[in-house]
């Protein structure tokens, strides 16, 4: 359950479903918007992760 990727996909799924239902009524438009948001979030997350890959992760942040 604590896989970073799985949680990101789950988050993207919930958010994209929410905005799809909120903003669109027609089924075809709903599917299109859902795919745009979902793939945008997952793809964007992967892209940002890939861009950050060369940077060292560093020591863990101190717990306040």
């Amino acid at each position: 359950m604590l896989s970073h990727f799985l949680l990101m996909v789950l988050y993207a799924l919930i958010v994209s479903l929410f905005f799809t239902l909120l903003w669109r009524r027609e089924r075809k438009e709903q599917i299109r918007l859902f795919l745009q948001i979902f793939l945008g979030m997952v793809g964007g997350g992967l892209l940002v992760a890939w861009l950050m890959y060369p940077f060292p992760s560093g020591p863990p942040a101190p717990i306040p």
Binding site: L2, L10, I14, F18, L21, P64
Partner: protein
Amino acid sequence: MPQPPAVPERRGNAVVAVLSAWLVPGLGQFYLKRPLRGLAFFALVVASALIGCHLEGNLYKVLAGQPLTMLATFASMGMGFLYFLLRYALHYQGNIMGAGYEYGTAFLLTAGLMNLLLVLDVWDIVRGKKE
């Protein structure tokens, strides 16, 4: 002859709609005779809150000397009865040492923010600005 401007169609009591929309996610849509949408929104907001709790995320409360917690608390309280149920009835507290703490906090904040958007959606529908 110029036509008079169309009066927006009012659908139900605005105060009841907005309050019910905030108190129970999806209830505002249900009140405005959109039961399936209401049910779907309820499921999404509750699912987000439950995942956030499962991951032991932070359910914000206002902390002295940390003004940004006011904003985060406002966002969290957006989830309506769920916030009060978790905080005061179930005495939910996040676990900062938990592996999913940050993710859980994001899910909990998102649940509240989604419901606040639903309140605005209901407001627009009641005022006749949206179908």
